[in-house]
């Protein structure tokens, strides 16, 4: 990529790093579009920046780090699908609108029904994946039911569209595209989780350093130091695997799924223990700890949970060994 990972990270951190957690949704969305994050992975001949999965990794990590609300993951799934729709007459127009920030959404839990669709009330279209057809369906007249989630950083809807929509792929091409989009979802959830895990670990370290009990900072208690050292170790290894697979064009869906399961395990474990290490204040709604734990548990189920992916990767390892 022309921009290094570090440069991209710096730019992204400036956008969301200084602000409070969970920035205002509309402002954040404007910023994301303005910074060109929605055109990052689109090939240059289609009006994008032509950056690879590594760039997408940076975006999702930073979105996760600041608990940014909004349909970023879903929008990038739509953009990926549109980029691949070579036979669609309206492609360039739709792609330009999506890259410019017109919300087009998708289910974060692809299956028989269209649920877990973020920000559907602001969206013009929804992506529909089925075994033999990938379609972009207008949401005019669709029935939308908002489902209140424990994670207040996301707004998810059940969607029943009435339109047939535009076909992006059919048959074998649809299956292949569906798999590619699923891999992208899993990769995005991984980035979101690792960014969030890093942020809550950092905040926990800060807290241990300033909070005094028994006349000394909590950070001086070895029992606590060792716990955060373990967290850091698991996180560092998961991050290494994330960037490794980001750069591996041959990474399979199962490998990305296994990575997502691993990253959400790590996120959840760190967010869980962060509450314990914060003590009483970690149990208050005013404090930020619970926001990370709730997003971590949601990420853990979206796109298939750890039971699903670990079994799949176990089966694959059994066949390989």
């Amino acid at each position: 990529m022309t921009m290094t990972r570090a440069e991209l990270q710096d730019a992204a951190r400036q956008a969301f790093g200084g602000a409070d957690l969970v920035p205002d949704a509309e402002r954040a969305w404007g910023l994301i579009a303005e910074m060109g994050w929605l055109m990052m992975t689109v090939p240059e001949d289609r009006g994008g920046l032509g950056l690879g999965r590594e760039a997408a990794g940076v975006i999702h990590t930073e979105i996760g780090r600041a608990l940014v609300p909004g349909p970023g993951i879903a929008q990038l799934m739509v953009i990926e699908a549109l980029s691949a729709a070579d036979d669609l007459r309206e492609r360039d127009d739709l792609l330009a609108r999506a890259m410019g920030g017109e919300v087009m959404t998708a289910s974060l839990s692809p299956g028989a029904t269209l649920d877990c669709v973020p920000d559907a009330d602001r969206a013009s279209h929804v992506l529909v994946l089925s075994a033999d057809r990938v379609a972009l369906v207008p949401l005019d007249g669709a029935s939308l039911t908002e489902r209140e989630t424990w994670d207040k950083t996301r707004r998810l809807f059940d969607v029943e569209p009435i339109a047939i929509g535009l076909t992006l792929a059919t048959g074998d091409a649809a299956a292949a595209l569906g798999e590619r989009i699923e891999a992208q979802l899993l990769f995005a959830l991984t980035g979101d989780s690792l960014g969030g895990a890093d942020a809550i670990l950092e905040r926990t370290l800060d807290y241990l350093k300033i909070r005094h009990q028994f006349g000394r900072p909590l950070a001086l208690f070895q029992a606590l130091k060792h716990r955060v050292a373990d967290m850091k170790t698991w996180l560092a290894a998961a991050e290494a695997l994330f960037w490794n697979r980001a750069l591996d064009p041959g990474a399979t869906l199962t490998e990305i799924g296994a990575l997502k399961a691993h990253a959400t395990n790590v996120y959840r474990a760190i967010a869980e223990d962060a509450i314990q290490l914060h003590g009483g204040i970690g149990l208050t709604m005013e404090y930020h700890c619970h926001l990370f734990l709730k997003r971590a548990t949601l990420n853990a189920v979206l796109g298939g949970d750890a039971d699903h992916w670990e079994e799949r990767v176990g089966r694959r390892a059994l066949e390989a060994g």
């Binding site: 350093k209 955060v228 050292a229 850091k232 290894a237 290494a240 990767v313 176990g314 059994l318």
Partner: protein
């Protein structure tokens, strides 16, 4: 990857196909077989130019960059060669310390003999100086042009087979504990040295205790000045960082088939519980491999931070415990019946009870997990250091 590296990979792979011992797991069922295998394999590597790629280029076989070394170790892991256990201390710890602290006479005397197969061990740890190495009590008294050494060393890797020893001794009890240490090179054939193997819980004997009874070491065999031993020892301890864990992680990855075999043998290929645990482990190993890889890449780029090596070691040691624990679980009752071990067989031999017990080696040796956690929390995470000053008087 550059063309030069591609060529090297091709060369190493072809060389290994012709030269790497294939039957070593069988021949290493006795101590004698182990020693012969280790010596024979090292001699082949030395002749082939792959024994000491990390040495400076003025020495034969040396002068390879870190990227080349990494590649060579990856190929060793891939070819499932015996690990160089017997000569490891010699080619890394002894050589690196000599390169950094040895006089030109000392280097000319010892370095070529390492390539000829001379074996070194390390005499650092003592019964009361394990994680707390500054607590070394083995005394060395200067008498004319010799030091007279008395004391006991332990956990000396391959000490019972070694010719020479890197010896950390106390020459003064004044001032800070570290300031009274001196570093000597001890010929283990010297009168007064007794080496006794340590019987490990899994049945191997990879370490020895060394008893030193009025042992005379020429002053000419000192590395650094008197009182500089702590600094010299730090060079020894940091002589190998990254390559071993990269190799070991790759070997663990390559040994997953042993667990897969057991799952099939037990007809549990559709048991979701075991498949999940197996899958989770496989991903953790992948993550450890990626971390070891990233660590070396950072080192090559000159971006290594203090404490990074501890992340790799802790990730490896904990994952290895999980690997062997899953092996032991799926090994079931079969794993409880005693089978003879393969000496120097590595961390994953498929003798699950032995492997499970042997895996503690990595959570305890070379800086225990607890020491690594201290380093990670203090050096990488900015947590305050343990206050000093707890003394024996406070215990009374």
């Amino acid at each position: 990857m550059t063309d030069a590296l591609e060529t090297l990979r091709h060369d190493v792979r072809a060389w290994l196909e012709a030269e790497a011992p294939k039957d070593w797991r069988t021949t290493c069922q006795t101590h004698e077989g182990f020693l012969a295998t280790q010596r024979g394999w090292f001699a082949k590597l030395a002749a082939g130019g792959y024994a000491v790629p990390h040495w400076p280029e003025q020495w034969p076989g040396g002068g390879r960059g870190l990227a080349e070394q990494k590649l060579i170790y990856e190929e060793f892991a891939r070819a499932d060669t015996p690990r160089l256990l017997l000569s490891f201390m010699s080619t890394y710890h002894a050589a690196s310390t000599l390169f950094e602290w040895g006089s030109s006479e000392q280097q000319a005397r010892y370095i070529p003999r390492i390539l000829e197969g001379e074996i070194w061990c390390q005499g650092f740890s003592e019964p009361n100086a394990g994680s707390d190495l500054a607590n070394v009590r083995t005394r060395a008294e200067r008498r004319g042009d010799v030091y007279v050494v008395n004391g006991q060393k332990t956990w000396s890797t391959m000490g019972q087979f070694a010719d020479q020893c890197l010896l950390l001794v106390r020459t003064s009890s004044e001032g800070a504990k570290q300031a009274g240490l001196t570093y000597l090179l001890l010929d283990l054939k010297t009168r007064g040295v007794t080496a006794r193997p340590i019987h490990q819980i899994h049945g191997d004997e990879e370490f020895a205790e060394l008893f030193l009874d009025d042992v005379e070491v020429p002053v000419a065999n000192r590395l650094g000045d008197e009182g500089q031993g702590w600094a010299v020892a730090q060079s020894t301890l940091s002589s190998e960082r990254g390559l071993t864990l990269l190799e070991l992680s790759a070997r663990m990855r390559g040994a997953l088939w042993r667990i897969a075999d057991r799952i099939r043998a037990q007809d549990r290929g559709n048991d979701a519980g075991i498949l999940r645990d197996f899958g989770r482990l496989a991903t953790k190993i992948d993550a450890t491999c990626a971390l070891a890889d990233q660590f070396l890449a950072n080192r090559i780029a000159g971006e290594e931070r203090v404490g990074d090596a501890s992340l790799v070691k802790l990730s490896y040691s904990r994952t290895l415990r999980e690997f062997t624990a899953l092996g032991l679980r799926i090994g079931a009752l079969d794993a409880q019946y005693h089978e003879p071990i393969i000496f120097g067989g590595g961390m994953e031999t498929g003798n699950w009870m032995a492997d499970f017990m042997n895996s503690y080696a990595w959570t305890i040796a070379g800086g225990s997990d607890e020491v690594q956690r201290n380093i990670i929390s203090e050096r990488l995470l900015g947590m305050p250091r343990e206050p000093k000053g707890w003394t024996l008087e406070q215990r009374a």
